[in-house]
Amino acid sequence: MLELKGLKKLFDGISVLNGVNISFQQGTKIGLSGGNGTGKSTLLNIATGFLTPEEGAIILNGDNITHFEAWKLSRLGVKRTFQKVRFNEALILKEQLYTNNEIIKKNRDMLEGAGIIDYLYSFPNEVPLPILRKIEIIRALLDRPKYLFLDEPSAGMAATDLHNFGEFLKEYIDADICLVVVEHRLELMKKIDANICELRDGKFVSGNIIV
């Protein structure tokens, strides 16, 4: 279980998170919603080790890991994707899965099912955005994460893409993974049956968990 306790974060003196408590249990799906600028992404960045909170603790299976760096969290199984897809424009996508041929062969079904197998030898700028998003997720999945955080995966996707993307998430994310989707489009969260928590003014709005 990954727990965030009493997180506070300031940016330029302005409070973004103001005492947030939440716990992520493996095997659950959680949607973090909230308007732009309510601290959703900051929460994700803290949970994955890319930012350190001013106050509060991050606890993984009982161990305090608040000051662990991101790479360490990633090795402990806490992985993420990015709001703006991050790829090296000079490398073909196969190289950017950062894995070996064996694992690619083993997961051929997933790559084919997700419709990305034809794009493996393309450069990122030759590939539509929904595919890039899937590849970012697959990059994380190939490393068997326990917690997977998606940062606004719907950004830039049309309604039909979103449908397809939801199916992809349902199909290929194992049941024992804790999937956390940071989003403000509720449709995707409903599609994957996520528990939705809403952030407002740096805190979770109490009692609004829609199941």
Binding site: E69, A70, R75, A90, Y98, Y121
Partner: protein, 300 residues
């Protein structure tokens, strides 16, 4: 082969070591203005090992590699928090400090062939290894060139390794690197160290070839040339730095009527190449394209 040609080729080979060491640091995303110092340390260590201690070539160069790599390791730890401009300037400071300390290193021995040993600003004279072992300039070129070739082959082989791929990712985007569990620190430290060692090895060969070294030879201009070679050559493939060396020394210096204006031409050329190819001539993207086409051909 004329002596002139042999000398030019040897010089090209020796400076290639600096270019490659700059290349290795560029791979992990940093710019070093200090590789010349590691070259210098390597030269002093080799001179000491052969002339004062009478050690074998292989052992002397091994020492040169180890000692300069250790200094580079120190640099990488000192600059752990720095990157970009800050790392570049810090590496320059570190290098100049090392070089200036050489002015203070004095330990000389009188022998029948003259004074040997580091002698402050006078430098280290009478490094007689090539004479003692009867190595002709051609043979020395073969030694230097084959070491360089071995290094290049090693790097080409390593290019497809996980180690190098991860290092390139660290250099390109530390955030993605961290998100897939790569610890950037490890790659930075090991590449900066390796680069120091490579420069030191080249410096060792330089000391033997030149038979005389002094601290002023290892000034910043040497390092900057190495850096410029690998940047204009491109970071896509280990042959990039060699291309840079060839463009400068092979084309500009050896064409005699140009050599007087070489620095004017070379400076402008580097600036122009950077405008046209900001990532160098053999850029990572070019290499990926070529690789992809090769894969397509073999599949077809």
């Amino acid at each position: 082969m004329s002596l002139y040609l042999v000398t030019i080729l040897t010089n090209m080979t020796l400076i290639s070591f600096i270019a490659i060491s700059a290349y290795l640091i560029l791979i992990v995303g940093e710019v070093s203005f200090g590789q010349q110092a590691f070259f210098g340390i390597g030269a002093y260590v080799t001179a000491t090992s052969t002339a004062l201690l009478g050690l074998d070539l292989v052992i002397a160069l091994f020492f040169a590699f180890i000692v300069s790599a250790s200094f580079a390791l120190v640099l990488s730890f000192l600059t752990v928090r720095l990157s970009g401009l800050y790392f570049a300037v810090a590496s320059l400071c570190f290098a100049e400090l090392l070089r200036l300390s050489l002015y203070k290193v004095e330990y000389t021995v009188e022998t029948n062939s003259g004074t040997i040993g580091p002698n402050g600003p006078e430098g280290f004279q009478n490094i007689r290894w090539i004479f003692e072992n009867n190595i002709s300039p051609e043979n020395f070129l073969i030694i230097a060139l084959s070491s360089l070739l071995a290094l290049i082959l090693f790097l080409i082989f390593m290019e497809s390794s996980k180690l190098f791929k991860n290092a390139r990712l660290v250099g390109k985007d530390q955030i993605v690197a961290q998100s897939i569990g790569i610890k950037p620190f490890v790659y930075r430290v090991s590449f900066i160290t390796l680069a120091g060692g490579v420069a030191g090895f080249g410096g060792g060969l330089f000391a033997l070839f030149n038979t005389y070294i002094e601290p002023s030879m290892f000034g910043i201009m040497l390092g900057v040339h190495g850096l410029a070679y690998s940047i204009i050559g491109g970071l896509g493939y280990p042959l990039g730095p060699l291309l840079g060396v060839f463009i400068d020394i092979g084309l500009l210096e050896s064409v005699r009527f140009l050599s007087e204006y070489r620095m004017i031409l070379f400076g402008g050329l580097v600036a122009a190449i950077l405008i046209i190819f900001p990532e160098g001539i053999i850029s990572p993207r070019l290499v990926s394209r070529i690789k992809r086409n090769l894969v397509k051909k073999t599949n077809a």
